[in-house]
Symmetry: C2
Subunit: 188 residues, 2 copies
Amino acid sequence: MTTRKKQIVRTAAQLFKQRGYSAVTMRDLAAAMDIKAASLYNHISGKQEILEQLILEVARKFTAGMDAVKKNDGTAFAKAEQLIALHIKIAVENTDALAVLNTDWMHLEGAAYEEYIASRKKYELDFKQILKEGIASGEFKNLSVETILFNLLSTLRSIYLWIPKKSATEVADLKKELPNILLTGLRA
Amino acid sequence: MTTRKKQIVRTAAQLFKQRGYSAVTMRDLAAAMDIKAASLYNHISGKQEILEQLILEVARKFTAGMDAVKKNDGTAFAKAEQLIALHIKIAVENTDALAVLNTDWMHLEGAAYEEYIASRKKYELDFKQILKEGIASGEFKNLSVETILFNLLSTLRSIYLWIPKKSATEVADLKKELPNILLTGLRA
DNA sequence: GTCTATATTTGGATAGAC
DNA sequence: GTCTATCCAAATATAGAC
């Protein structure tokens, strides 16, 4: 990816985050970069390509992160802690793209849509497997895996909303406190 | 509001929930109701009015619910439980409209936008006040109020995503388990 | 209350000059 | 790599007949 294309994708992420994919026009995007809309097409094939770049790159980071956690031979509890850290790390480093993934994934088309749906499904299955291991080993309370996952992912998926409003110290606080807040009630 | 107008708003809520306000056209909405787009304008002034109806009605339910909870003279813990119940109740009874509030509030214009922003700000302030009371009374651990509220609202704001996939029994489980899951780690 | 017809604007995208 | 000019499709909304 050329540096100019990266600039376009990064600028688009900011706009998509604020107003959503459908409400941002190619003219808006061009204006934000101080060029004309037609010039964008020298670097990208269209609006849809920008969405794919943004969402699939982040989705693949989640997949890679989950694979790394699974390879660990630590306890289920340690794996859960690592997944919380993974979500915070991605939210800090890719705030805008993560916002787009969370709110505009349904506007992906064709193969990109299929890839996103499959990767999300696999991620949730892997996460549930870790929770089941923790219940089987007696680390976690025997609660409904569905309900636990709902609660964990609800918070983890919202981190990107919280990050940009906060200072570096507050983000450091979150890194320290969030595992306790999310996992304490879960511990057997 | 006439019954026909209610039908339009309810149908719009379903479509807006699936694809977002900006991606749904008046033609889409008309087609979903088996009429022509022009016919919609006999009942509503435009697309924006539909969005206002949907979002402000739900926002006012949250405001009314919070006011009722504040008038109670129970413990802070009991108030927190009541707010969790309020979120579940609204999510069950207004799933689609709540989805629209959560994802498309930024497309409100003028006075409707101002009303929404003000009501959300007041709601969060009231919620924080209750958490502070609970810390002061020794009911809650002395954690950062911001972080606690982030965690609680992250989960509460996601309930609408979970509800439509679940059976009545699973929703009943959620009503029973969620206060424990969210408040156990918080208790002093 | 719904229709057809249409005005008007806007959006994604391309052609070709510089 | 960016521009001007432009095409074409789609979108909101109105007018007026039935």
